[in-house]
Symmetry: C2
Subunit: 430 residues, 2 copies
């Protein structure tokens, strides 16, 4: 049996097959390293503590008990295709969940929610449904790093950045997004010859942690309306709010929404709010018949498991458990870890951060630590952190235009955080 490698690597692939293989960015490289050499206090005490990936690692005990109680399946979620069964139940459950927790002013029916195997897949498909190759989507930066591969790897959609500045804006906060900046981003893209088809907003924001107000969201919607753009609101952190008295404002809740159905889309998924990155359920809420129809035609390739559908269709609808157990426990734990993290950061003179009430991370300013204000210096600091055994995600990976910002994910065991902070302190004192 002859099994030799061709000398010319990839020569037998199609052009697009070769094009899928992109060099890994700094965040993906760090993820690989953490996967190979992950910290474990007993088994691998010198391994890397991963504070880079936005995963909620502190709710497994609660979920496990609940899932065990729920049971896992019925026949239809296992032995039959589930895009007419289990996934439809999940659409129904997510619709009901968002009616309540996003406060939708318009009824969301099950047919308005397209469920796929994660929000990553939804973004990758939606980008293709609303953009042809080479067309663009406006995204404020720093942006959710996953958008880069979601839009680029297979969809070949350009991200047209709307660069935000750390200088405090009119509302007294850093990285403020304004319509003037959106107009500027749009003009810059058009000058480069890119046809812009939409705007992606993330609220609560990743990595900044901010929550857009109703007034802000409305102004972004009006900007889209004015320019005939799709407005897409990514609300995957909708209920991950631990700050007292804080609440997210969903685009779904805005009565004055000026957009027509074909241009208004909301993204939701269970990965963050339900501490379930690995379960793979994401959804698109849309009242656009044509968008839903086009997305549905891709369902066969993007089915999620009947096991996942069965479990989370029940959990999304279990208001008593959500209100009495899951949400309060999640908020209490995240708040404690956030405060612990903030206390640590407060002791480091050279580092500041943007206070937050949402998400699983803090956006930290390490600019004073850099030898010079360049992305090379940021990468060098990142390497020193990795070498010391702690991984944060450098701002360059989020297309932040100012070198020296890092995202620190705190939603992990407190003893891991303590060890990670000791290591970080070591890096900063050398």
């Amino acid at each position: 049996m002859e099994h030799q490698q061709a000398g010319n690597e990839g020569a037998t692939l199609s052009q697009r097959g070769r094009s899928f293989i992109k060099p890994k960015n700094v965040i993906e490289q760090a993820f690989d390293e953490c996967s190979k050499n992950g910290y474990d206090p007993k088994k691998n005490p010198t391994g890397i503590i991963n504070l880079g990936v936005s995963a909620n690692g502190v709710m497994f005990d609660v979920l496990k008990d609940k899932i065990t109680e729920t049971g896992f399946f019925d026949s239809c979620t296992i032995d039959h295709f589930n895009y007419f069964g289990g996934m439809d139940d999940t659409s129904h459950a997510m619709a009901a969940f968002l009616m309540k927790y996003a406060g939708s002013v318009k009824p969301i029916k099950r047919e308005n929610v397209v469920v796929m195997n994660g929000l990553t897949t939804i973004v990758h498909c939606l980008a293709q449904v609303i953009c042809d190759e080479g067309e663009g989507i406006l995204i404020p930066t720093p942006l959710y790093a996953g958008f880069i591969s979601d839009l680029n790897v297979q969809a070949n959609v350009s991200i047209c950045p709307v660069h935000l500045s750390s200088e405090k804006g009119t509302d007294g906060t850093a990285f403020q997004l304004t319509v003037a900046l959106l107009e500027k981003g749009l003009s810059e893209a058009q000058e480069k010859g890119v046809k812009v088809r939409g705007l992606f907003i993330t609220t609560p924001h990743n990595p900044l942690g901010c929550i857009y107000t109703k007034k802000e969201l409305l102004s972004f919607m009006e900007f889209c309306k004015r320019h005939g753009l799709h407005f897409v609101s990514d609300e995957i952190y909708l209920t991950t709010i631990f700050g007292a008295g804080k609440q997210a404002v969903s685009a779904l809740s805005i009565e004055e929404n000026p957009l027509d159905d074909d241009h208004f889309h909301v993204l939701y998924g269970i990965s963050k709010d339900f501490a379930a990155n690995g379960v793979r359920i994401g959804g698109l809420v849309s009242w656009s018949d044509s968008v839903v129809k086009s997305m549905n035609s891709l369902l066969t390739f993007n089915q999620t498991s009947g096991l996942a559908c069965y479990v989370f269709s029940k959990l999304l609808l279990d208001e008593k458990w959500l209100e009495e157990v899951f949400f309060p426990t999640n908020r209490r734990r995240l708040l404690e870890l956030y405060e612990y993290t903030a206390q640590f950061l407060d002791t480091i003179e050279s580092v500041s951060y943007i206070p937050t009430a949402t998400g699983l991370y803090v956006w930290c300013d390490f600019r004073k630590v850099l030898d010079e204000p360049t992305f090379e210096a940021e990468s060098e600091l990142n390497r020193r952190m990795m070498k010391a055994g702690v991984a944060l995600n450098p701002g360059g990976g989020f297309w932040c235009k100012e070198p020296g910002w890092f995202r620190l994910v705190f939603a992990t065991h407190k003893e891991y955080l303590k060890e990670a902070f000791d290591r970080l302190r070591g890096v900063l004192s050398t």
Copy 2:
């Protein structure tokens, strides 16, 4: 809040977004009807009995007990992305499973198995990795109907049919595939200007039920070698063999395989052999570094659930349960249902069928029932069956070139079959 429909449907989508929306074929239409009006002896006794979809509906009790015993999860399959965790465990488990049950002559390591959310997704991605848009894949017909959407909806790969005839071939069987026919199919495609990149073989075959011999597989491999084509063997029914003394021959088991690593690929998934269409685990076995690398770059969009990975990584490796419980029970039940079906068909003078020892279906010859030998008459017969409340899949949906063939899936409850056969008898007597 203004939410109006645009008058021009789909005008706000991209061109490709519109192109994803394809008219439903006859099989998909029937599937829709069955979903809306499915038979249930108590709740919907006049509903349609679906003998169209190839699903194994008679093993849920065994699976349920085993899955409950296995437990469902650990932290890493739920709260973290699983393309470096759970899916890797599934790659390992599928590699070990195929070493044993496919009798691979070359060691399959975990890095040779790309796992995604179902074989549908694997085919859709592999087609893009080895073909550019408009290029073609040779597939003998009748073919697995799913290939049509897998290759066409998003990948835009042409299926170049190799039409088989029901006239008995040199080996005494109908629909025999020979190298002469492959050469003819290749020439026809080339004459149409299509650049052919590969050949898809399905063994055990769907819908024919035949098993290719080692000699036949070797001749197909040599054909591919001669023409520089990718050879792809779809073996999703590998262990679904109920005929006494019968066994599938995997392409993996052929020592004399003349193909290099970059042109030899095997498809496997749990949907059929494990009665788990809804669980969504499919895999590509390949020793081609570049194919694996390109497929892996698409993993992020094609993750399967950590819940599914956790459960089936264990089941694939549980040889004792497979050998002592699952396989013998499955074979016994399928054999009984097949024999019941064959007995029914034997009583119908106007219908014959190809005896089989594999799969979940029988390929049936209704040509004598048609008013005339046309696909219109086939569709008319199909409509009469649907109206009588029983759905089979007509051969046109499988690109069979002779009108009048139907696939009948028997892997369902015996009382459903009995009712379905009564209804079919009614259709044929009118």
